[in-house]
Symmetry: C2
Subunit: 350 residues, 2 copies
DNA sequence: CTGTTAGCGCGTTCAC
DNA sequence: GTGAACGCGCTAACAG
């Protein structure tokens, strides 16, 4: 274990006191230019590096931020974290990752553990199935450390959030289907206790109503974000007496499942049925029949969440801001919803 | 800022000394059962939590491990990190993530930064394009903290690694193509200064030779792991006087590009040409024409890397182990290489 | 068994 | 401007 050089080492060498070295290193105004220069030079010579643990213990600020996500190996969360890391690393912060596995108890453990590490902030998406962890979130606020939700948020007094406008994304997707001539639009939903899914549902519903179409609750079925689930729901739709001719899904995976099922039933996409997913997962672009989807710009979302954190941590510590940043979703039009041979407006379509 | 209870608080309350409290909390043998019980109880009452920063400062052990990957938002790296986190979190460790962006200078910054945080170990994949950062890796070893490479490794004295057997994976993929009746197998390679790609190349080559086929260097072309790159290389292959009828690609993305290009040339996959990728990216399974690929079991790889770290950190600190764990790759046979209507042996195929 | 003391590395009073 | 002294929270060494 090679010993690191401390401020004492360089103090001894220069025959001054450690306090002076500390001041020189921290740009303290009351110090002579000469000694500062001297200290900085010898610090470099001796490969001095500040011990961040000691500083953290002393100051209470660790320059670490905690990030809690249900799981890390999905394109969406991975990309958000990427955005967070890229914004915070240049500012001297490090990212500590925890996975909640959509489990409230693990989430509680994660957050307590992060608090104990004296993280300077926590950025997170709440678990999928969660009843009431408000006390937990409030305990973070009580410690006066910024808490920021991204994507899967919840209304908590004092907690900022960065999301996309799910309502708008869903509305535009549904509108696009209607514009393409589909007359009877169904919706594959997901657990609507989560705001994001409820908002997508509401956006869909509003678009249907605004276009003078009949809103039918039977055309809305919840499903997990899985291919098989999409198949299951599509099967139900197809076996109806009066089946839909368009599907807006709150998930790309269930959208894909729906497409597979539709084809297996001998129908064509997009000729007979139009399908749109949500999230713009990489595979939606790669498919032979590319899938129209709503992009959530996750990297951007991560960057913004990080920026909100930086604002909160740098500004007045006492005023809880509770900022709400809402990103614009972007409909990426691809083959699965393009029945009409209209010119493609969106240059991001293939 | 609500003050946390420290061992002093509980010492004062019990009218004993902080050292005793510390001993009680740390299962020190020389302490009476009575006081231990008393301490533990009041600790719980007062919601005491050990300050890990103070402990780290004192002990030099932070219970943090650093993970450095080129980028986090890919299925492979995300899954490895997932495996690492799931293994280390129950042991009380936290994961600090850094992205090197395949840049040596950022990598250097990452590692120095992690050392400064006094991480107890560093788990990483080396950057794609890298000349010689051996000094950097050795500086980690000099501090006597475990360094473990996963996937993208390099031979460094004292550094353990967890990889899959790329040679074997490539060999089996190529063999499978030959077994399916393809006679002239080409290879889309990648930067072979990286061991993984060189080993895939060697495995391919050996399989070709072992089967008595002609090995032709012209049938090996390097490409980045991108769809367009796969198209480019496939185009070159198809325009040859004597084009190949099978392609083993070191990447799923270039394999997909190749398939798209082949189809655009009016040929069929797998009837006219067989294609196999590498990594078992999620999309390979989802495609309408599902793609045969080599699975690298990334989550397992992460778990093993974490276990190797735990061994090294728990065992004798002075002996550098340099363990080499090699995982078995698994060929996932799907449609893109299945010309013969043979029964599918692999139950993981669709 | 338990109390006392000291130190991990740093920043920050308070004097001078 | 600079030095001396202290404390962040915890643990290890030495007493007793």
């Amino acid at each position: 274990m090679k010993k690191k050089t401390t401020i004492y080492d360089i103090a001894k060498k220069l025959d001054i006191t450690a306090a002076t070295v500390s001041r020189a290193l921290n740009d303290n105004p009351k110090i002579s230019v000469a000694t500062r220069k001297l200290v900085l030079e010898t610090a470099r010579e001796m490969n001095y590096e500040q011990n961040r643990l000691a500083k953290a213990l002393k100051s209470g600020k660790s320059y670490n931020v905690g990030v809690v996500v249900p799981r890390i190996n999905t394109n969406f969360f991975g990309s958000v974290i990427r955005g967070i890391e890229e914004t915070l690393y240049p500012e001297g912060y490090h990212i500590i990752i925890c996975q909640s596995h959509d489990d409230e108890r693990i989430e509680t453990s994660n957050i307590n553990s992060l608090l104990n590490l004296q993280v300077d902030g926590i950025l997170m998406s709440i678990p999928n199935i969660q009843r009431d962890n408000d006390d937990l979130y409030n305990s973070v606020l009580k410690e006066n450390i910024p808490l920021i939700f991204f994507d899967r948020r919840k209304d908590i007094n004092g907690v900022s959030s960065v999301t996309i406008d799910d309502f708008k994304g869903a509305y535009e997707a549904t509108q696009h289907l209607i514009d393409q001539g589909y007359k009877r639009i169904a919706h594959i939903s997901n657990d609507r206790r989560l705001q994001i899914f409820n908002n997508r549902y509401l956006g869909y519903k509003q678009a249907v109503i605004d276009n003078g179409l009949e809103f039918n609750e039977n055309l809305v079925i919840e499903a997990f974000s899985k291919v098989e689930e999409g198949r299951r729901v599509a099967k139900t739709f197809l076996e109806m007496d009066n089946p839909p001719d368009g599907i807006f899904s709150a998930s790309d995976f269930s959208a894909l499942g729906a497409i597979k099922e539709i084809k297996d039933h001998g129908l064509r996409v997009p000729e007979d049925m139009g399908v749109i997913g949500f999230s713009n997962e990489p595979f939606t672009e790669l498919m032979e029949l590319s899938i129209t989807s709503v992009d959530q710009s996750p990297i951007e979302m991560g960057k913004l969440a990080a920026e909100v954190f930086l604002e909160e941590v740098n500004n007045s510590k006492n005023i809880r801001s509770q900022k709400k940043v809402v990103l614009d979703p972007q409909l990426i039009i691809r083959q699965s919803s393009l029945r009409e041979a209209i010119p493609i407006k969106n240059d991001q379509a293939i």
